[in-house]
């Protein structure tokens, strides 16, 4: 392990609640201990924490695209670029734009986010296959919320 690797590790730990971090490289041993003073828990007694809408897997702060990483390197998650209401089809009568397992092409419409009475079509940025649809029809979305996961077509 180099100093810069350690430096990275420290920077990483600086803004966490981790108080003890242990690593043993040969036998691969990891120990992470979190602080009892978990700042993010500070307000858990407040009565206001029910109907919270919290995005998961939101892109990094500088990330302006609608894509964020997936644990699977060959997958991409399309996240909401705007706030609004998620729809899977153009109208209640129409069929959904995509289903799980369906192949999609770059530029193909995946879903709609309605905002201020406007229907905003969300297009795929990749060629691939739909692996997950994270939301129900009519659900509210906030910026950065995961919408659809796509497995990339293997490049040849």
């Amino acid at each position: 392990m180099t100093n810069s690797e350690i430096q990275e590790l420290l920077a990483l730990l600086q803004n966490t609640n981790v108080t003890v971090f242990e690593l043993e490289q040969e036998g691969t041993r990891i120990k992470i201990q979190k602080s009892p003073l978990a700042v993010s828990d500070a307000f858990r007694i407040l009565p206001s924490h029910q109907n919270r809408m919290e995005g998961v897997n939101v892109g990094t702060p500088s990330d302006r695209t609608t894509v964020s990483g997936s644990p699977n390197p060959s997958h991409r998650i399309i996240t909401a670029p705007i706030v609004g209401t998620f729809y899977r089809s153009a109208s209640p009568e129409s069929a959904p734009y995509v289903e799980i397992g369906a192949p999609v092409q770059k530029g193909q419409i995946l879903c709609i986010i309605e905002a201020m009475k406007l229907m905003n079509e969300i297009e795929s940025e990749f060629d691939g296959t739909v692996r997950a649809i994270f939301l129900e029809n009519g659900q509210s979305v906030e910026f950065g919320m995961p919408l659809i996961e796509i497995e990339l077509t293997a490049e040849s």
Binding site: L37, V39, M53, V83, A115, M116, E142, F143
Partner: protein, 457 residues
């Protein structure tokens, strides 16, 4: 135990003012929706609100100023009204209009009032018609040099040339000597054109070290217009207010009455509804001149709240719901506010970062408005205000003693703050005597005691 005027309000802001608005809503039994950028995921306003919606990445133009996302957030959460706070969209007439057309109540004045007061020339000419004294100068943009010279004779020296479309010092020239006038006029026109695409400039009398004093007003839909006395905001550095107090140690009761009357007249003439602040310059001989009207809640509103025991944010909400408001009654005592910024106390260089320790002062006459806590991070993307400390006393001396005491109790570790500046200010003889103007801070920074200060190291 009246029913709440709204069921749910979206707070279109961040930081201490978002927390302030959420507090008012809680006390009124109104549910709240916070909006936040990805940089503010763990912010206090998000934690305190009943619901929250992420509206964009850290940059304000795509998050806290993102009109479509904010309106959509109100729609998906079924918020009935939006409180804009200060800054961001608070004085954006377009946003107020869009709220209207989206069927969401904008908690603030009408788009027309915002537009009117946002246009400095129109605002000034309305004041002139209404009989409110304005800073002497041109009645609008002047384009020809002849017109400029005629006005120059009328206004006298020193004077200031400003870009009509301007702001932030660009296209601005101060003229102290007659011989400089022509060059300055041309330079201002050129700069105005480069900066704003219009070479329109106007001319105003320039005041050397005036007082900056503002009158708080509230006006409801029933036609009640009330003035809540003044705030003295003369302690500024580069047009940034640092300290505000009420009452002003400079005003006489007569002058206070005259300025309050002028402010109410201004509000009535503009058909103004909701909270607003009429800003004046006051010269050494206690002549006052209208500068502008801020059509929103001000950062420094707590000093007024404290001495009038009157919740201005609740009043804003009531007014927006069409309800009448109570008259202020008499003020009592003296209040002062120090803006505690994440900045070097002497150079005012920003100091963002993670706050290790954060312990706020308490006890008699102390109010703290903040959105920070131990472990929180001051993001580099937004303004550096981290806390407002407000001290109240029976007398000005007691308020200042209390402020010193409160500042010395305030523990903020991990970043630099302006607390040492404020502590030195409270100890300054000139400031103690109330003898200050907008020109106070620069010489104070030079003469302030330079003893090694542990908090500076």
């Amino acid at each position: 135990m009246n029913p709440p005027p709204f069921r749910k309000i979206l707070v279109a802001n961040r930081g201490e003012i978002a927390v302030r608005i959420i507090r008012a809503c809680r006390e009124m039994g109104i549910r709240t929706v916070a909006i936040y950028s990805t940089a503010d995921r763990d912010a206090l306003h998000v934690r305190m609100a009943d619901e929250s919606v992420c509206v964009g990445p850290p940059e304000t133009n795509v998050s806290y100023r993102n009109i479509p996302n904010i309106i959509s957030a109100a729609e998906i959460t079924q918020a009935e009204a939006i409180h804009p706070g200060y800054g961001f969209l608070s004085e954006n007439a377009h946003f107020a209009e869009i709220c209207q057309s989206a069927g969401v109540i904008f908690i603030g004045p009408s788009p027309e009032s915002i537009t009117l007061m946002g246009d400095k020339a129109r605002a000034k000419s309305l004041m002139r018609e209404t009989g409110v004294p304005v800073v002497p100068g041109s009645e609008g943009a002047i384009s020809s040099e002849e017109e400029a010279i005629a006005l120059f004779r009328e206004v006298g020296l020193p004077l200031i040339i400003k870009a009509s479309a301007g702001g932030g010092g660009r296209g601005m020239r101060i003229v102290h000597q007659e011989s400089d006038f022509e060059n300055a006029f041309q330079a201002a026109q050129t700069e105005a054109y480069q900066a704003f695409g219009s070479k329109d400039v106007y001319i105003e009398k320039y005041f050397i070290n005036p007082r900056h004093i503002e009158i708080q007003i509230l006006a409801d839909a029933q036609g009640n217009v009330h003035a809540f006395g003044e705030r003295d905001c003369s302690i500024q550095r580069r047009h940034q207010k640092l300290v505000e107090e009420a009452p002003s140690p400079f005003l006489t009761p007569k002058l206070r009455q005259e300025m309050s009357d002028a402010a109410m007249k201004a509000a009535k003439a503009a058909g103004y509804i909701n909270a607003g602040t009429v800003e004046f310059l006051v010269d050494e001989r206690k002549n006052f001149f209208f500068i502008e009207m801020n059509t929103r809640i001000q950062v420094e509103h707590p000093v007024t709240e404290t001495i009038f025991q009157y919740d201005l944010v609740k009043a804003q909400i009531r007014i927006a719901a069409g309800l009448p408001i109570d008259p202020p009654g008499k003020s009592f005592g003296h209040a002062i506010e120090c803006r505690i910024n994440a900045e070097d106390p002497w150079t005012f260089a920003p100091s963002p970062g993670t706050i290790q320790q954060f312990m706020i002062p308490g006890g008699p006459g102390i109010r703290v408005d903040t959105a920070f806590f131990g472990g929180a991070t001051v993001p580099p993307h937004y303004d550096s205000l981290i806390a407002k400390l407000i001290a109240t006393g029976r007398t000005r001396d007691e308020a200042l003693d209390r402020m010193s005491r409160g500042l010395s109790e305030f523990v903020i570790e991990g970043i630099k703050t302006t607390i040492p500046f404020h502590l030195a200010l409270m100890d300054d003889d000139e400031f103690r005597k109330g003898q200050y103007s907008t020109g106070f801070v620069e010489p104070f920074l030079v003469r302030r005691p330079k003893e090694t200060d542990p908090a500076e190291a």
